[in-house]
């Protein structure tokens, strides 16, 4: 297991886990429209969610569209 920071909370995840796996851990639907992921401050393209693996200590942010606007 490795340790990552997922939306601000420390979580354990299997070594070799993908960015997509981390998003699923949150109950997010990483393939849904309106969802995006950043790792260590860099946006991960949809096409790489499955292939990019996480390293120990990675900071993962999973965001989704919410109501907003002045």
């Amino acid at each position: 297991m490795i340790s990552i920071v997922l939306n601000g909370e420390r979580r354990e995840i299997a070594e070799g886990a993908s960015v997509r796996d981390a998003a699923l851990l949150l109950g997010a639907e990483p393939d849904a429209r309106g969802v995006a992921v950043a790792v260590d401050g860099e946006v991960v393209p949809r096409s790489e969610l499955e292939t990019r693996t996480l390293s120990d200590g990675a900071r993962v942010e999973v965001v989704v569209a919410i109501q907003g606007g002045s």
Binding site: A28, G34, A36, V43, V63, V64, I66, Q67, S70
Partner: protein, 269 residues
């Protein structure tokens, strides 16, 4: 100046609105923030006649059930993501990049806020973010103050529109400096959209009468007692203000000017 005046066509309330290289039928852009329910949101969006709606991005909440995207997609509306909550150019750029991935759109409503009390834009960070995002291929719609010089700088770095406030976000205080808005409209070669501060229909109508190409609002509708009814009012106000702007209003006078001929009044005494 609005596209309607620029192309020499006879302007009317039904003119298309050119924004970001696309043509729109509605000049009212609605923010989705503040609605009490998804049902209220959906009814108001329909009543407003809007085609473009803003959304924000936040951390996934596993407990959230209804999705704003489901409502927007069901209605077939265009999603304009914003960078609400960003205080630096760096954060705003990152958020825009996330939005591009989330919605497969390069349109971004750019907000870079200076402090949480006024929610006024940070001019320095705003221009820096706008310049970078334009260079990265985004269609940038910046929320800005009503400062004509700042509006010009945003246009110069390549923004697709400038979106000056009427008054602070959510204040409902209307258009506090109509003179500045007039100057911004007079000098702009891109659409001017009045963003923030609209409280009621007359504010939206005034923005259009001053020559704005569109109005962006949320709270005025979402926090109204009857959002659907206010949305309908805003739609009518934007159309009325636009038509009045192009109808050639009469000059304002200090004294009366009779509309009935004075010649031929009978002597009856």
């Amino acid at each position: 100046m609005s596209g309607a005046e620029g192309n020499g066509a006879a302007p009317g309330a039904g003119d298309a609105f050119e924004l970001g290289g696309r043509s729109w039928g509605s000049r009212l852009i609605v923010g989705t923030g503040g609605f009490r329910s998804m049902e209220d949101l959906e009814q108001a969006l329909v009543a407003s006649g809007t085609e473009i709606v803003t959304v924000a991005l936040r951390r996934v909440d596993p407990l959230a059930s209804d999705s704003v995207i489901d409502v927007i997609d069901r209605l077939g509306l265009f999603v304009l993501p914003n960078t609400a909550g960003c205080y630096t150019a760096r954060d705003a750029i990152r958020t825009a990049e996330l939005a591009r991935e989330a919605f497969e759109t390069d349109w971004i409503k750019l907000e870079v806020i200076g402090d949480d009390r006024t929610l006024l834009p940070d001019a320095v960070e705003l221009v820096a973010a706008a310049e970078r995002l334009v260079a990265d291929g985004f269609t940038v719609l910046p929320y800005t103050t009503d400062d004509p010089v700042l509006a010009r700088r945003l246009e110069e770095v390549g923004c697709a529109a400038v979106m000056p406030l009427g008054s602070p976000i959510g204040s409902g205080a209307g258009i506090r400096n109509p003179y500045n808005l007039r100057i911004i409209v007079e000098q702009a070669q891109v659409p001017v959209i009045c963003d923030a501060g609209i409280g009621t229909a007359s504010d939206a109508a005034l923005a259009m009468e001053l020559g704005c190409s569109g109005v962006l609002l949320a709270s005025a509708v979402s926090r109204a007692e009857e959002p659907e009814l206010m949305a309908r009012a805003m739609r009518a106000a934007v159309e009325a203000g636009y038509a009045a702007r192009h109808a050639g209003r009469i000059p304002q006078r200090l004294h009366a000017q009779a509309s009935t001929p004075e010649h031929g009044v009978p002597e009856l005494g």
